[in-house]
Symmetry: C2
DNA sequence: GTTAGCACTCACCGTAATCGAGTGCTAATC
DNA sequence: GATTAGCACTCGATTACGGTGAGTGCTAAC
């Protein structure tokens, strides 16, 4: 059987109606729509066909129809096909984001956190953003400064102005002048390198150049390496916001489902991993960049199969990339979410791309 | 009427039983307890008295009794009276905390975040910790470093090794040597000062000493001032953990109450303010340090009047202080919470007190 | 191919009946 | 006077049940 014009109209109408109300939609309701000038009986026949084809389903006999994952998938693909969703330049929310970003270009972290909040507030869904992955990121600048007699502050700045501080304790007495020399040494050796590019040869050269202070160099390198990996595993935050929005959608909060979902949102580790995998996916398949939609069972996280997830990837070059995700009920307003996400991504990339 | 021995035994038994089950407790249940060798009728009489005195209440006629806020208050005071709850040195959880703290003395933030997590996991309640307030904190060290041609990294370290970084853009060309001089100047002028102590005289002196670079000084001071206040308003985090634990207590999740509560936990602003006020309270009344318990209506946050809050204050000197709070149902296991909190506080203070 | 009509299904709602844990009271007992 | 046994009573929780209505599928007429 084919999806003819009328079937498509009906399917879309069902989905849209279900999006609004969250209630199964019946044939009579549809027959009253202006763009469907046929009787309810006709619609019933069409619905029967749609059900057979797997786009919709009845929760129980004698109830209206509800879209299946396949139905949503069709709808989303249809939306995505409508090429570039026009970016309304005057959109108030867009300027809202823009202001936020102009404010503090040097604090990506800060901006991401607030973007999560704004997205949650604007869409009424839950949002999550993974902070920039930096394992492939380059060192821009290293600075040792003596804080106290035998404590040194190691500040490492990565591309994208991601700053990491460590404090190390040293045993030797070291003069300001020598610290200056070590700084010079470190910067000439390390600037522009990624974690993987700091190899044994580099390290050996550094140590021999440092002379008496080779063990200070060791400590500094340890801290820098931790700065790399720790970013990855510990401090690579996932910013979430609006998790409580799910309480607005009764179909997600039946029974103890609400608890389960909110709990998912507290498991930052798993979220981070999930977003990380999605991010990898984007990297592997560059042409398919942009926005992706995962519906129900398609979700990488099994416990959330009653939800949909819309993701977008940011990549500012130099290995600074991450993922934004918006989670809502399957009947989320894909149109709005896709539009909002698109404009936010544009804004982010314009501001931060190196 | 007086609270005689037997009434106290019964009251405690009611509270303990209610803590375990969350169900109203009846006279027959109590009569079966080993330390109450009287008939249910006798207990009924006593319960009637206790109700009259306001320690317990019936949710409805013909139901068992449930402790009132006053009842809990009595119970908690009773526990607190049992002076120092013995710190079991060999307690596995204590070593767990200790390991955590030894690991990274220089990252208070990191430790606090993980303490929140551990507390939530160990107690099964929700925890929140306010990061150290620093408005009254002293500058320990300031360091300018040139990152790029006209970008300077301003690293400010406060007492307690709280590090704050800013990046400023400068128009003038400035040599390494001159940056070194500015560093010297800034450190001699600012080290040891709090926000309020940086007055006009200090600023004027700095500017005149800086000569041609007085506007760099201006920028640096702006950033430092923001570092102070921003710590206070933006980045002064509240770390929460285990919010979903509340789903384990049905009496908190009836209706949409669960949503409300979880929402409270997402409002970091309000939590921070609440913890801040509590912290102020501790400061104002030093002798009453230690642990406090807020029951039901006593809570500073009105929407949480079905809960209890146990708080403890940490103060490491130099104005670095904050508050830890544990939120649970009124029938929370006060004994355990008080003990756990006490040992954690001790550990924290031992490790961090300056 | 479309529509009107009709019998049928089934979640939902409100009411009634039942059940049982728990109380308060009274009278007997220690 | 304190304690206890016994009993009537209360009231939330659970189950049972009939009515209602939205919605379907099918058939026959248009």
């Amino acid at each position: 059987m084919e999806l003819d014009e009328r079937k498509i109209t009906i399917l879309k109408a069902i989905i849209r109606s279900y999006m609004e109300t969250g209630e199964p939609v019946g044939s009579r309701t549809l027959s009253k729509l202006p763009n469907l000038q046929v009787s309810s009986a006709t619609i019933r026949n069409e619905m029967s066909d749609l059900e057979e084809m797997g786009y919709i389903v009845q929760p129980h006999t004698s109830a209206g129809r509800v879209p299946t994952d396949k139905g949503y998938r069709f709808y989303v693909d249809e939306i995505m096909k409508e090429k570039d969703i026009e970016l309304k330049e005057k959109d108030s929310q867009l300027t809202e984001y823009k202001e936020l970003m102009d404010k503090r270009v040097d604090r990506l972290e800060y901006v991401l956190k607030h973007v999560a909040k704004l997205l949650a507030a604007n869409t009424n869904y839950a949002t999550m953003i993974s902070g920039p992955s930096s394992r492939r990121n380059k060192i821009k600048f290293v600075q040792l400064s003596r804080m106290e007699k035998n404590r040194i502050l190691v500040a490492t700045v990565f591309e994208g102005n991601i700053i990491n501080n460590r404090i190390i304790a040293i045993s030797e007495d070291i003069s300001e002048k020598e610290i200056g020399e070590l700084n010079m040494l470190l910067n000439t050796s390390l600037t522009g390198l990624t974690m993987n590019e700091i190899n044994l040869a580099t390290i050996m050269k550094l140590r021999s150049d440092a002379g008496d202070y080779s063990d200070v160099i060791d400590q500094v390198l340890t801290e820098i390496s931790e700065a790399f990996t720790n970013n990855e595993e510990e401090e690579l935050e996932v910013y979430t916001s609006g998790a409580t929005n799910i309480f607005k959608y009764p179909e997600l909060t039946g029974g103890d489902a609400a608890g389960m979902l909110i709990e998912q949102f507290e498991k930052k580790d798993e979220l981070r991993q999930m977003l990380g995998e999605i991010n990898e996916g984007y990297a592997a398949d560059a042409e398919n960049a942009g926005i992706r939609v995962y519906i129900g069972e398609e979700l990488p996280m099994h416990d959330m199969s009653d939800c949909s997830l819309v993701t977008a990837n940011y990549d500012f070059g130099s290995g600074i990339s991450g993922t934004i995700g918006i989670v809502g009920p399957k009947r989320m307003d894909y149109d709005k979410v896709l539009g909002t996400l698109k404009s936010v991504m544009k804004q982010l990339e314009d501001t931060f791309r190196i």
